[in-house]
Amino acid sequence: MAKVLVVTSGKGGVGKTTSTAALGAALAQRGQNVVVVDFDVGLRNLDLVMGAERRVVFDLINVVQGVAKLPQALIRDKRLENLWLLPASQTRDKDALTDEGVGRVIDELRSRFDWILCDSPAGIERGATLAMRYCDEAVIVTNPEVSSVRDSDRIIGMLDSKTVRAERGERVEKHILITRYDPARAARGEMLNIDDILEILATPLLGIIPESQDVLKASNVGSPVTLNNADSAPARAYVDASRRLMGEEVAMVVPAERKGFMDRLLGRRAA
């Protein structure tokens, strides 16, 4: 059974696109057929993070409007043959998406893939509500920071009221993914800790992604962090999260950077 999962947050810049790419690649590496769909019409970036920006011909809007067929718009990943991208349009705006059109595309994707990961735009407007509209599950990306937690709370309220599942009286399975976490700062009481965030949002935890330079390095070269440096702390955290999505029990730990000898000698900071 195909699963539609929205990666959302309300707030911008918390790591939705990074997380969509990293989780999509991690699921594909476990043999799942995965498509990542960019819903950020007008400000697409998933193509760039996936390293497919020069291969975009048709996009989600073209498929919604019937200008192109779905297989024409799907881009296969260069590294993993069972990972695909459906890009957003860069020239149109979000009004070009219709509820009914998105529903049709999602239905067609359901017949072809095991996982459909919808990368939501920031905000609570049309693009964000359509990205979550047909989801079965939701990953709410949250930074340990007051404005991000507040926006996540708002998004949780919308997932519980504005999705097709909610309207049918069914449940959307929701998960919190904490990104840019710095265990040392949390221990010093300078950053909201995991328990505080989970208590406030009253939603189960999918994973903790530590703050790391490897995330920027991966996006610089257009590769999901799980593929670019599989040994890095964020990559291991994303892989753990993807295993939890598949129903495996994985102990919740914050992977630490593996420091080299020179790093230790020079006392370099991890983050």
Binding site: D153, G157, G189, E190, N193, I200
Partner: protein, 97 residues
């Protein structure tokens, strides 16, 4: 206690507890507000339905506001009706009778 000791030695202030408390208060308030706006939408629709049975109304001219005060709150319902609404209604009644 351990946090205080840590603070003493590090000279840094633990600001996370403040963040947590502010969030808890704010979200309790905001969740209430969202629920309230649903209540106002329902009230508005039902008031509109009842009044519309007797008077022809422009749905956009029906305002329902709730203002929270310290000891009492007020529910304000403001309905704009056309000047000749009663004539029309009595005219219809005559025709029906």
């Amino acid at each position: 206690m351990s946090m205080r000791l840590l603070r003493l030695f590090s000279g840094r202030e633990a600001t996370a507890p403040v963040a947590r408390e502010r969030l808890q208060i704010l979200l309790a308030h905001e969740r209430g507000l969202l629920g309230q706006s649903d209540l106002l939408v329902t009230l508005r629709e039902e008031i509109l339905a009842v009044v519309s049975k007797h008077i022809q109304l422009d749905p956009d001219k029906v305002m329902v506001k709730l203002e929270r005060g310290k000891s009492v709150s007020t529910l304000e319902v403001d309905i704009e009706v056309p000047n000749n609404f009663d004539k029309k209604a009595s005219g219809e009644r005559r025709m029906a009778g």
